[in-house]
């Protein structure tokens, strides 16, 4: 990388709230993160050095590694492999909600409060890539820029690059990198516009859904799925007219679901005015309470299982799909397709035959 490493993110290590850092689920080192062996000896040395600098909190190295993952560079896997056993300290907080709710301002206020409490913060701000050009304008940082020179804060803007669900595919690895570099809390901000755009729920330990007062039924913009995803519900811009109505309405929505079990998490509804940093300390308190609840109740283990499973399943899917789609332009596939076109074979049977043939070892990378 060259040059002096930046000061370690946040300075001295501080004990995270709740005592011991979270141990990786299972204890045992997991199988190395994906990737068939690379053809030609990739410089494992370089990857190891990169990983070491990330673990030492070097911001430029962490940034570079995230970039490499995003760009799909195979060397990134090597470095991630080194990091994976070392992660598990970060409390991942998803922040989602409709556009205009003030998520970025809220994130900025959260950063300020968390910094006051001595935490090191990582932020992933995700925005959609243009489906036409593949490019993106990423402007979430604008509201967080007062933190940009704080060595205890690392903010990274990500474009979805074609992934659906509200996150970038590389968001998972990016979170891993931020965890490895020493972040106590990783805030992941995405736009949640419905029931399909809530992948952040799978990534996060705690999901904060942010909404704002509207003209009565604007609060219905909080689609049912989004509300169910929430561990904490924030009514931001609570100084606007209609805030009281919105709060009442949200209470109705929350309590119309069946009553929670006695020691289940009691979903709080908090009012904030993020632009004036009002209502933020209670929100951070609630986040800490949620984390304690997760540990106490065993939910955490279930979440970590889910978080471990997801990239595994994605990677499996990716590789299998890639393998299955190989040769789709070749003579075998075309013959099958011709039969389907002639209607001498139905497409479903054709597909089954094709996949079975591929999986049985027809060709490979």
């Amino acid at each position: 990388m060259g040059g002096e490493p930046l000061a370690r993110v946040g300075g001295e290590p501080l004990a995270p709230v709740g005592g011991e850092p979270l141990a990786p689920v299972g204890g045992e080192p997991l199988a190395p993160v994906g990737g068939e062996p690379l053809a030609g000896a990739a410089p494992g040395q370089a990857a190891r050095e990169l990983a070491e600098r990330v673990l030492a909190g070097h911001a430029a190295s962490a940034a570079r590694l995230i970039r490499m993952v995003e760009d799909g560079r195979p060397e990134a896997r090597e470095a991630l492999r080194e990091l994976y056993p070392k992660i598990g300290r970060a409390h991942v907080v998803g922040v989602t909600g409709p556009p205009g709710a003030g998520k970025s301002t809220l994130v900025s206020a959260l950063i300020a409060e968390l910094r006051r409490r001595g935490r090191r913060i990582g932020v992933l701000a995700v925005d959609p890539s243009s489906p036409f050009s593949g490019g993106a304008i990423l402007g979430d940082r604008v509201r967080m820029q007062r933190h940009s020179t704080d060595p205890g804060v690392f903010i990274r803007s990500m474009a979805t690059r074609g992934a659906s669900g509200g996150l970038a595919r590389a968001s998972w690895e990016a979170e891993l990198v931020l965890d490895a570099m020493g972040c106590d809390v990783v805030l992941v901000e995405t736009v949640g516009v419905g029931q399909v755009e809530i992948d952040v729920v799978d990534l996060a330990h705690s999901t904060v859904v942010v909404c704002l007062p509207g003209a009565g039924d604007d609060v219905q913009a909080i689609k049912a799925g989004l509300l169910e995803a929430a561990d904490l519900l924030v009514l931001n811009k609570a100084d606007l007219p209609g805030a009281d109505d919105a709060e009442r309405w949200l209470h109705v929505l929350l309590h119309s679901a069946k009553a929670p079990a006695p020691d289940a998490w009691d979903l709080p509804l908090l009012r904030t005015v993020a632009s004036r940093e009002e209502g933020i300390p209670p929100l951070v308190d609630a986040l800490e309470r949620h984390r304690a609840y997760l540990e106490r109740s065993g939910e955490l283990a279930r979440i970590e299982a889910r978080r471990a499973r997801r990239p595994f399943v994605e990677r499996v899917r990716e590789r299998l799909v890639a393998r299955a789609l190989e040769g789709l332009e070749g003579p075998e596939a075309l013959r099958l397709l011709a039969e389907v076109e002639r209607r001498s074979l139905d497409p479903y049977t054709a597909a089954d035959r094709w996949v079975e043939a591929r999986l049985a070892g027809g060709g490979g990378p």
Partner: protein, 570 residues
């Protein structure tokens, strides 16, 4: 009995037109073709027909009495003055303001001596952003884009000229407007000038800053409250001053087309109107205080149509929507000027020609009781003495040598002009309705609607210039060459920045700190409550509190505004 071609007989006209197209036009087209594949207006991209006839008026449902009427009568299409410019010409104003307050005062005196009866005073970026000259972000900017005014001492120095010849002064300061107002009041008091002896005009229209200019400080709701405080205070204490000026010219400068400019501008105006009315005024009391500033672009007929539609839309909004009854409420007060958007850095003398054409459009469209000319070297430089003289000359030549001011609204009845006027008017009302459905201007700003629309226009215009679809003589009609050579920018003498900071320190050293602290505390209380901010700010200003200090107090109370990815407009 009607003759062929008689406008009272549309059938005959249609036949006449068809014959002309067949027999006269077609052969000419055959021989010569047309120089463009399509003709469009510059900003609205509306198709420009080759010929407009009474048939077009008929198709538009044109009714002279309803749509045009008479000067000084609703809907004011032909002007708000019954006698047009035959009794009095428009007042000729110019923009100026740079450097130290003393330099500005000298420049003001020079302009008064040149025969100008009014001018704008602009402030530097630190001042309009609510920072003192010694703030870290102020470095390199002190006194550059306008005058630096940190404390009352600076305002006293800036207003050190002979007020007896002054009729209008426009003080362009949006974010910290109450501070600016307070300083002017206090300085006039010290000078012994009767505030009623001239008209102070303050834009005070902060909502436009959130939309496109960027010199905002506090979140929009608080910006609105501050503006409303200034309006209310001024109406009650200085009733001959004009406390609000919706500078739709800034929307124009951000590439708004005439329909957007009027619709966004009027929606913003109505946001203020509603806020002021809620303080216990009637529409007839308040509407007369609202004034507008617009700029025109090179498309001559869009310009004329826009100015005529401007008057009509205001009149109809006041009458139909607000129930205004008096002439003063229904009549639009506007200052029009040639716009700066089409001035070029390359071949700057071309700009004088552009100014003349635009000035002509202003005079023919009826640009109001006062008009200004930006100066031909104004693209990012502040005006030289010569430029000021040329600018004044453009106005005087149009006024005295061209004859256009000698008859009222002479373009009325032109088929094209009336079609254009009506079409703009209808489109503006449709857009206002759209903004209404969003919840009004404040809602449109919060959701980023204005910002997105402007961003789209900006990109389209840029594309049009890049591809040469839109011509800019001297720029894209010739081989593009580097314009580094011809660029001159105005640089402040770093000494003068240092001296300004020194002066600020000296003022702070002389004042009673304890009293200042108390006064600032009063400002904070007022900000957190809902009393009018101007009186406590006036007290603080008289004690030589700086505008940065006062704005910091307000920042603590209101928060600082930062756009998000929706509202940033990028």
């Amino acid at each position: 009995m009607s003759q062929p071609g008689d406008p009272r007989d549309p059938e005959a006209l249609r036949k006449g037109l068809e014959e002309w197209e067949r027999q006269t036009l077609a052969p000419a087209l055959e021989r010569e073709g047309e120089r463009l594949p399509a003709f469009e207006t510059q900003a609205l991209h509306w198709p420009v027909e080759r010929l407009y006839t009474p048939l077009d008026l008929e198709a538009a449902g044109f009714d002279y009495l309803k749509d045009v009427g008479f000067p000084g009568q609703f809907p004011y299409t032909r002007g708000t003055r019954p006698n047009g410019y035959r009794s009095q010409l428009w007042a000729m104003k110019q923009v100026t303001g740079f450097g130290t307050p003393e330099e500005w005062a000298k420049r003001a005196q020079y302009m008064l001596d040149q025969g100008l009866s009014g001018f704008f005073i602009e402030y530097d970026l630190p001042t309009t952003n609510g920072f003192d000259s010694d703030h870290p972000l102020a470095a390199g900017e002190v006194g550059r884009a306008g005058v630096a005014v940190d404390t009352l001492a600076d305002m006293e120095a800036a207003l050190d000229f002979d007020f007896s010849k002054l009729r209008h002064l426009t003080s362009v300061c949006n974010g910290p407007q109450p501070v600016n107002l307070a300083m002017i009041i206090a300085a006039l008091e010290k000078k012994g000038v009767d505030p009623a002896s001239f008209t102070l005009q303050m834009p005070n229209a902060i909502l436009i800053e959130y939309t496109c200019v960027g010199r905002y400080i506090f979140p929009p709701e608080h910006g609105l409250r501050i503006s409303t405080d200034v309006i209310e205070y001024t109406i009650r204490n200085h009733p001959n001053w004009v406390p609000i000026s919706v500078i739709s010219a800034q929307l124009y400068a951000a590439r708004a087309n005439p329909v957007q400019e009027l619709a966004f501008g009027f929606s913003i105006a109505m946001q203020y109107l509603d806020a002021v009315l809620a303080r216990g005024f009637t529409i007839d009391e308040v509407a007369p205080y609202f004034s507008f500033v617009t700029g025109v672009d090179m498309d001559f007929f869009e310009a004329v149509g826009k100015l005529r539609a401007y008057r009509k839309v205001w009149a109809r909004l006041m009458k139909d929507r607000y129930g205004a009854k008096t002439r003063e409420a229904l009549e639009l007060r506007i200052t029009a000027s040639p716009g700066t958007m089409s001035l070029t850095l390359q071949q700057p003398l071309n700009n004088i020609t552009r100014l003349a054409i635009q000035m002509l459009a202003c005079a023919l469209g009826g640009g109001g009781y006062t008009m200004t000319t930006p100066l031909h070297d104004e693209a990012h430089a502040l005006p030289s003495d010569e430029a000021i003289a040329v600018g004044a000359g453009v106005q005087k030549i149009v006024a005295h040598e061209s004859g256009v001011a000698d008859t009222i609204d002479p373009l009325a009845g032109s088929y094209y002009v009336e079609v254009m006027t009506k079409r703009i008017e209808d489109a503006v009302f449709a857009e206002i309705e759209k903004i209404d459905r969003m919840g009004g201007a404040l809602a449109a700003i919060r959701t980023g609607y204005f910002q997105r629309e402007l961003a789209r226009e900006q990109c389209e215009r840029n594309r049009a210039l890049d591809t040469g679809k839109r011509k800019l003589v001297g720029v894209n009609d010739v081989e593009r060459r580097s314009d580094e050579e011809s660029l001159e920018i105005f640089r402040v003498d770093p000494e003068s920045e240092r001296r300004q900071i020194e002066r600020l320190r000296a003022v702070k050293a002389r004042r009673d700190e304890a009293k200042v602290a108390e006064a600032l505390e009063r400002v904070r209380e007022a900000a957190e409550g809902d009393e009018n901010l101007v009186p406590p700010i006036l007290e603080a200003v008289k004690l030589y509190a700086s505008q940065g200090e006062i704005c910091d107090v307000l920042r603590e109370a209101f928060g600082t505004y930062m756009p998000d990815s929706l509202t940033t407009g990028v």
